[in-house]
Assembly symmetry: C2
Homo-oligomer: 460 residues x 2
Amino acid sequence: MQELTIPLNPASSVPLYEQIYRFIISEIHEGRLSEGARLPSKRALCVHLGVSLSTVETAYGLLLAEGYITSRPRSGFFVAASGLPKALHRTPPPPTPALPDAAPRFDTSTAAVDTSAFPYATWAKIFKQVLYDRPDLLNRGDPQGDPELRNALSSFLYQYRGVRCRPEQLIIGAGMEHLFEIILRLTPEGTAAALEDPGYAAPYRVLSQYRRPVRLIPVDQSGMDVSLLRQSDASIAYVTPSHQFPTGALMPVSRRMHLLQWAAEKPDRFIIEDDYDSEFRYSSRPIPALQGISGADHVVYTGTFSRTIAPSIRVAYMVLPESLLPAYRTQYAHAASPVSRFEQQTLAQFIQGGFYARHLRRVGNLYRARCAALSRALEDIGNVRVHANDAGLHFLISHDILSEADMLARAADCGVRLTGLSAYCRASCPAPSTAVIGFAGLKDEEIPELAGLLARAWRV
Amino acid sequence: MQELTIPLNPASSVPLYEQIYRFIISEIHEGRLSEGARLPSKRALCVHLGVSLSTVETAYGLLLAEGYITSRPRSGFFVAASGLPKALHRTPPPPTPALPDAAPRFDTSTAAVDTSAFPYATWAKIFKQVLYDRPDLLNRGDPQGDPELRNALSSFLYQYRGVRCRPEQLIIGAGMEHLFEIILRLTPEGTAAALEDPGYAAPYRVLSQYRRPVRLIPVDQSGMDVSLLRQSDASIAYVTPSHQFPTGALMPVSRRMHLLQWAAEKPDRFIIEDDYDSEFRYSSRPIPALQGISGADHVVYTGTFSRTIAPSIRVAYMVLPESLLPAYRTQYAHAASPVSRFEQQTLAQFIQGGFYARHLRRVGNLYRARCAALSRALEDIGNVRVHANDAGLHFLISHDILSEADMLARAADCGVRLTGLSAYCRASCPAPSTAVIGFAGLKDEEIPELAGLLARAWRV
């Protein structure tokens, strides 16, 4: 059995389980853990490392889900790297170095939103009206979400995103993870799901929890590589075609057609279209949603209000294809919607009254200007390339000389918290020396100061 | 291979997957499916029965989770009944017969709540104030829930339930299922969980989804049978000690001590104390929560506002023992709370201002009177025994001559929808010819009419 002494950093922003997970992957990739090698038992490893059992469980769970290791009953865990598809045999990036825990001067988190732009007075007025007019909302509502909200959304999505759906296909949920869990329960157990790499952590987490096989498909400048998706055995593909997270790639129409064609070839193939940030496309007209291009039989369309309204609004929605509706109704007929009905009704009126569309236009102009101002300011820094593409609430920034770790560490020393692109990469990383910078939470007047701090930090 | 022709009733309130699941269990128990017998493949069965694949998947998933069947890779599913603990070898009740779908005159669902008693004006006034004073609540809050609500709850639970916790141990969630999922992710993968039988469907559903082994422990007049729990390999026990659902049994202190002792014997044993309906105990002083009796190291205490305030308030809470907090923080540090912060803050002020305690007293008096009036009215019906025990929002009612199925069918014919006790039973059913009647949704003036209808329905 291999002894594993893993250099853990409890102060890191990377959770301990992920440090263990990444360490073992790198040991496998670099040949120090070879195929068939036996790993320490979970209990032995947690004692050895001085971490909780659940930390090791989570790390081993991820490695199992991805096929890096296998488990044999009563004998333990073994390296199974040869079982991985070729496309996934890439050297993983080094772990993101630990960041200092003190609050930085600037936190460029991609989750931030400028809530000062939200027409709060209008929202509160509608909310108050709903409160006073509708005490009946205390009673249990439709598990799919209140019909008024589903009606308003179905018109809105048709008009703004070309999504074609009946309100009966819409399901309102408490955030994307909640909806993603529903999708998994509607699709057969053993089905492998393809995720973008780099990509969001949340779908990955949910898939691991549900023990679904995960296939990581590299992303290029057009989004998920559909030819590599074809080589995999996945029948679900989760994509962010409007603004790939975090690379920002826009999936062009030709790639979209290939993806839809892949899905149409088998009845049990589905695309989960996370249309996040489609609301924020500044230079060109948005490309209609995948869901609206095809007959929509193979697309689950999803979106959320957490980024367009405010992070505390945990309301997300999805459009199920007709073929998944019977299974949904069987399993969820008796479920209770976790979303506040008062918030649902307020949202319905906010959309119906045109306030939502107006807010999106206003905040779109604001973010466009902020994106342009920040990218201009950063382009002036030597040896830096800015990959802003007139969309979304963040962009990538690369340095020609510094490593990613150096970029982050030096920025942190100057009070700027950045995230490395590698933090979102699992098996493949499309660019070295690259950081992700979210600008939605910045104030316009702070931009020169931020650029000045980074210029100082990255001087070589 | 066995052919299974299952008499499915698509109009039944029992979901199709559960009809399949129950049929197979009864075939096993009655020896028509013997140990080692091979079941049809999922695909063959769904084609044969004309149901969706996911329906069969769900049924097989439940049977696997409970150990009724096993799966061998590439060869299929086989009956494995002999693997069940002895206590669980009981004849399951016959499936609940289908109920007519037309809306009945009276629906005695146990989920109903009298929202007319809620001080809505006060609630709306606080909510309005929160809306106007706190636009900052648009920003992301603490994943564990807003500190104000956790502070208010921790004092309230100490004062009213004897629960001892720091606000740091409290987690606010979107309903009990959400919290139950969190608990499962904090405990080791293979751990078996013991559920009360009869009992709630929700924990059962979540355990099956997480592929956790389930041990069904029969309930007697004192709640879960701890001696049978001891014979099982479970290390988590989910109990409703204040008012066992649905039998209404109150767990006496001696049984509570045995249960706590069971938990204290091993470091990884936990009791999940669902303190539901503890707020509604009419004749005696409530027994303090289990959590407060012991050192609380082995109890996860849970409760919800859905029954005390209104079904649409999907706010539940749990108190984690200190030993589970590090794992919680590792896994959920970056999660977003799915609960509306505006509702959290309104609730916090509602509790802090004493409105919640006043509401509980008021609604308690109202339900006590309704419970007494209904049980008196029903006792006058011939051959009927009412098992009201001055607590909760429902009670059991038995008939000396009619079968359970006849009780329900005849009541339905007279416009009264009742649920059979067997609908909550999985492997053991403590009483034949018994129905569950919820009274919280009834109007007081309707009681004579309801009793009259049942008297007519059950005349023999």
